[in-house]
């Protein structure tokens, strides 16, 4: 496509011409691929730079770097009527601009200038700001991804931005150099762009997009997540329209069952996260905790019914029509975004006709097959406090690794009620390669294999396994805690240590002082003390008992006996004393690897408990 010589804009193809293009080739501007839509230029024209670099391309120690770069390049000096923003998903960083057409050239030049040569000082300042920003609260979809993929690829969203606390500007500059290369970026626009546009980016190769590899779980899996009032069913399916239609049909059935028939929920909705050759699809719904059990059963009934008989013609047609309307009503403006992403993922860019044809050829049998295949990779996340159980699922509950031998580190005295089961004990294996945390069964991490270790200056550590499970260590709660920390620090490769900002004093758990232990455990201490005192007094009183003053000595003895009885009663009573730590209880906490951003931020389930 060439710019018009008179108007200076790229020729606007007629809708017919676009439709006729089987696989539109992008225009190249300064070597960068450009996809333009056919919309009439608007007062504010939407343009985006899409970069093939996403959160799934990072590692735990660098998590947050790409978002940081995205925020950095959007910090341009633009008038207030120009909107510049960014979004990041697993594979793509998108810089969005909405500006008057006449301003686009300058705006894009300013953005690409920052892409080409990021200022190290500004990056450091920004990293410091973002690291202090609040991290998003627990999100069922994010947790589902971490359960499925561990602490890699899409699962990294649980650790959003955690790497920025140990920000390394050289790494960020290297990522910027490789990500903002001209073959790794496309420009998309809803309308033709000015002909004198300049998109100067350095040479460099395209980042390869690969499907994330799920953990070797025993599918179908049920697991407790930390989002109260939410249920999420997710599964993987081949990339394509049939998967999307299938998840929408499933959602519609869930809406019918749970909202229209039972009135239990408000807004079930479809999940679809596209990867390269497969998508993560499913349904997510709000649900009051008291209905969670029923809701899970109904969702599974819907899955099994669709797997057995497929959708009926009417419901399939309703979804196809609804989606086709979205394509036809919005594609004039949004098609370039679809095409740009496909181009960067090395897929042939589709036309509106391609998208419609793909939708309209979805059959009930295809939907049935997708749903049937969903069961083989299904994961069901339920609120941690619910007692939901579905026999068909393998529940990811409770301890896993058997206890290993080695150097033992017990909890400090007075932390747990005597006789408490599942008190967390740490073992460092004799060869010094592994750390175990648990009672009889718990979690083992091999130091060489940690994905990362979050470290706080107050001594707390959190070791993250590649599968996302974590071992928290609070030295103040462990006997010889500082020795344990030294052992861990010496064993974990230093490049995987991510230092975190200081915690508030209130957030650092402490074991009770000796004085507090004595006072709070008064039942036992005072009882024994009283008994001994009483015995001494009794012995002292005996001569008097034989002689005179027996009544006086007995008067002294009886209150002592009463104190003893009172203390025994105190120690036996169930109510009251709350000085002990509660060991983790319940499916989401028995595992020392409670996974999720909040747990990570709070420094462990000891603190959470």
């Amino acid at each position: 496509m060439e710019p018009d010589e008179e108007t200076g804009v790229f020729a606007t193809p007629s809708p017919d011409k676009i439709v006729a293009m089987a696989a539109p080739d992008p225009v190249r501007v300064d070597g960068v691929a450009v996809f333009c839509g056919t919309a009439e230029p608007d007062a504010l024209q939407r343009v985006s730079l899409i970069v093939r670099a996403g959160a799934a391309d990072e590692t735990l120690p660098t998590a947050g770097t790409i978002e940081l770069l995205g925020l950095y390049v959007t910090e341009i000096d633009a008038p207030p009527y120009v909107s510049v923003g960014m979004s990041l998903d697993h594979y793509f960083l998108t810089i969005d601009v909405a500006a008057p057409p006449e301003d686009l050239k300058d705006i894009l030049a300013a953005i690409t200038a920052r892409m080409r040569a990021p200022d190290p000082e500004e990056l450091c300042a920004l990293a410091s700001l973002i690291a202090d920003d609040d991290v998003a609260a627990a999100n069922p979809v994010v947790e589902a991804l971490t359960y499925r993929y561990g602490a890699t690829g899409p699962g990294l969203q649980s650790y959003r931005g955690m790497g920025l606390a140990a920000f390394n500007v050289a790494t960020a500059l290297d990522v910027a150099r490789r990500a903002f290369a001209r073959d790794n970026v496309v420009v998309v626009s809803e309308a033709p762009l000015p002909s004198d546009l300049s998109i100067e980016l350095a040479a460099g190769s395209r980042w390869v997009a690969a499907d994330p590899v799920p953990l070797a779980l025993d599918f179908p899996v049920g697991y407790p997540h930390s989002s109260s009032g939410e249920i999420i069913l997710s599964a993987t399916a081949p990339h394509g329209a049939a998967s999307l239609v299938a998840s929408r049909v499933l959602t519609a059935r869930v809406v019918t069952a749970l909202r229209h028939e039972l009135g239990m929920v408000y807004s079930p909705h479809t999940i679809r996260i596209p990867f390269v050759h497969h998508d993560l699809i499913g349904v997510q719904t709000d649900v009051p905790d008291q209905y969670a059990d029923t809701a899970v059963k109904k969702i599974f009934d819907a899955v099994q019914a669709l797997a057995a008989w497929g959708p009926n013609e009417e419901e399939l047609a309703a979804e196809v029509i609804s989606m086709a309307r979205q394509v036809t009503s919005g594609s004039t403006r949004s098609l370039p975004w679809v095409q740009g992403r496909q181009f960067l993922a090395d897929e042939p860019p589709q036309t509106q006709d391609d998208l419609l044809a793909e939708l309209q050829t979805v059959t009930p049998e295809q939907v049935q097959r997708v749903i049937d295949a969903m069961i083989d990779t299904a994961m069901l996340g339920v609120p941690g406090k619910t007692k939901t159980n579905v026999a068909a699922l393998n529940w990811d509950r409770g301890p896993e690794d058997p206890r290993i031998g080695g150097r033992r580190y017990d909890p400090r005295k007075g932390l747990y009620r005597p006789g408490t089961m599942d008190v967390p004990v740490y073992f460092v294996s004799l060869d010094g390669r592994q750390l175990y945390r648990g009672a009889q069964h718990g979690t083992t991490v091999t130091f060489d294999e940690v994905a990362a270790m979050f470290a706080w200056r107050d001594g707390a550590r959190r070791l993250i396994r590649p599968d996302g499970y974590a071992i928290p260590v609070e030295p103040s709660l462990v006997t010889r805690g500082h020795e344990l920390i030294q052992t861990i620090d010496a064993a974990v490769p230093s490049e995987r240590v991510i230092w975190q900002p200081p915690r508030e004093p209130d957030a650092i758990p402490q074991s009770p002082s000796a004085l507090e232990r004595v006072l709070l455990r008064a039942p036992l201490t005072l009882a024994v003390g009283t008994l001994l005192t009483s015995l001494v007094l009794l012995v002292l009183a005996l001569p008097g008992a034989v002689g005179q003053g027996t009544a006086r000595e007995l008067t002294l003895f009886i209150p002592m006996l009463a104190m003893f009885a009172l203390n025994v009663f105190w120690s036996k009573s169930e109510s009251g004393y709350s000085g002990y730590h509660q060991p983790s209880a319940g499916p989401s906490l028995t595992h020392p690897a409670m996974r999720g951003p909040q747990a990570e931020k709070e420094g462990g389930d000891d603190a959470a408990a």
């Binding site: 007062a43 925020l71 229209h260 009135g263 004085l515 507090e516 000085g579």
Partner: protein, 511 residues
């Protein structure tokens, strides 16, 4: 295509031409949650749900929303399907599905759990108490107690042809009928604010600073709000907030006036700086107004927005909304002309009005230094009358703690008192009382202050709540189900008291 106006079956219709083969329609009624009272809070939302109850046919997309002054029923799909569905919805007003009330009550409970109250809603609740816009903080409060006899009058009063507007993004389809009962347009009622001494401030919620003011509607308000928001963000960026943080401008119509607000989500440490930035920016703007450049940029933003394709689609809805709210309805061209005529002095005047009615909410514990002109914690307690009886807490506290709270019940007041603090509610002015069947009682004053009395915690607790209930008008009592016995609050035991005393003595933070 320019905006056009017509009427169908007495319903005013605004429509334009989107060029799409899908028709989007919104049937909007001039009623919202700000028209309710605390004891009917949720009736509009319940009606909205019931009018759209059940599965929409085929590929229709259906949604509903209840705002402060408007209730919108939205449907989009093939024009014939939209026509048929709108007819069904209108008929439901006359043939209302009361039998499905319990079903939708459960759905609304799930919706309420998902949504919560917005920061602006909290600010409105403080400014207006439990009336009008203040009900934003009390959404669906009475929904469990609504009965057909309280829903019917609401339907008849507000869900009428004269009180509705239909918007379409295409021409009026053939055969469109809107068989609504006839009735007049219901004007908006400006809410009355609590008697504050402005500027005022109080401690609200953690992590958010909100500043609001009341101003007359007009183009200068939008411009003032945007310049104010931009200046606050510039002042805080890099010091208190990061680039991901939002400084939000919010507004809510209160009849011919608006409540304009700035909302900043901050950590507790940044609250004082945020309050300073909000007030300094406002003072500067109130003094000399915006710069010419700032004003020109904002007018350009309005001009670009009002001439965009998105505005063309939204124009019928925007015009209808203003028309129903009793405000001057203007199209895109008129909007641009109005905004272009705004001078810096107009913006400064708006900012002075915000100053004169400024109410800020800051996180608890915010440093108040440098804010000497603010009136803090404006609680308007009535004076307690002579108590007829004093009720004490059960458990060890009453014997050993000097600061043990007591409840003193008088003929017209109930007071919760400690040596340090006292809180009194005037019983004749209680807006609502939630009374559980197990006796647990929550009193809500017209100002939105609450007092919760759990009989299990007080000596002669059952007598106390019975006496309180006897002093309340029956119309404000909302009966609720009991909570399970395990969830009933219990007085502390001696052992709990002892552990707390030891802890507080040692002064070690509790994990």
């Amino acid at each position: 295509m320019t905006l056009q106006r017509d009427s169908v079956d007495g319903v005013e219709v605004f429509f334009t031409e989107s060029g799409r083969d899908v028709l989007s329609a919104s049937l909007i009624f001039r009623v919202g949650w700000s028209d309710e009272t605390l004891v009917t809070a949720g009736v509009t939302h319940l009606i909205e749900h019931l009018l759209l109850h059940g599965e929409p046919p085929g590929a229709l997309r259906v949604n509903g929303s209840t705002a402060s002054q408007l209730t919108s029923l939205d449907v989009s799909g093939a024009p014939d399907d939209v026509v048929a569905y709108l007819q069904v919805v209108c008929r439901r007003v006359s043939e209302f599905p009361f039998g499905d009330m319990n079903h939708e009550r459960r759905v609304l409970a799930a919706e309420r759990a998902e949504r919560g109250v917005s920061a602006m809603g909290r600010a409105l609740a403080v400014r207006f108490g439990v009336t009008g816009l203040g009900l934003a903080g009390w959404s669906d409060f009475a929904i469990e107690n609504l009965r057909p006899e309280s829903v019917s009058p609401w339907l008849e009063r507000y869900f009428t042809a004269g009180n509705a507007v239909l918007t379409l993004d295409g021409p009026i389809p053939t055969g469109l009928r809107l068989p609504l009962p006839s009735g007049p347009r219901r004007p908006t009622v400006p809410p009355v604010a609590r008697p504050f001494t402005f500027p005022t401030a109080h401690e609200g919620y953690r992590g958010v600073v909100i500043a609001t003011g009341k101003v007359p509607d007009g183009p200068a308000v939008t411009l003032a709000g945007n310049v104010w928001r931009r200046r606050v963000r510039q002042a805080l960026l890099g010091r208190v907030i990061g680039p991901r943080s939002q400084v939000t401008l919010a507004s809510e119509f209160a009849g011919p006036e608006q409540i304009l607000g700035i909302i900043v989500h901050v950590g507790d440490k940044g609250a004082r700086e945020t309050l300073e930035a909000i007030r300094t920016s406002l003072d500067d703007l109130a003094g000399v107004g915006p710069t010419d450049r700032e004003l020109a940029d904002e007018v350009t933003r309005v001009r670009l927005g009002a001439t965009s394709a998105d505005y063309n689609k939204a124009e019928p809805w925007l015009v209808a909304r203003r028309s129903l709210a009793g405000l001057t309805a203007r199209d895109g061209e008129a909007t641009v002309a109005e905004f272009s005529a705004v001078a810096p002095s107009d913006v400064a005047a708006v900012c002075r009005q915000v100053q004169d009615t400024l109410l800020v909410q800051v996180p608890p514990g915010t440093d108040r230094s440098g804010q000497g002109d603010l009136t803090w914690t404006p609680i308007h307690d009535p004076a307690p009358d002579t108590p007829s009886r004093t009720y004490r807490l059960k458990g060890p506290s009453r014997w050993v703690d000097r600061e043990t709270p007591v409840i003193r019940l008088g003929a017209t007041t109930v007071s919760h008192q400690t040596p340090a603090e006292s809180f009194t509610l005037s019983l004749p002015h209680v807006a609502a009382a939630l009374v559980r069947r197990d006796g647990g009682t929550t009193l809500v004053s017209a100002d939105g202050d609450t007092l919760r009395i759990e009989p299990s915690l007080w000596e002669s607790g059952a007598t106390l709540v019975a006496q309180v209930k006897n002093r309340l008008p029956e119309s404000v009592v909302l009966i609720r189900e009991s909570i399970s016995a395990v969830n009933l609050p219990q007085p502390i035991t001696w052992k709990q008291w002892y552990a707390r005393r030891v802890r507080s003595w040692i002064r070690r933070p509790t994990e």
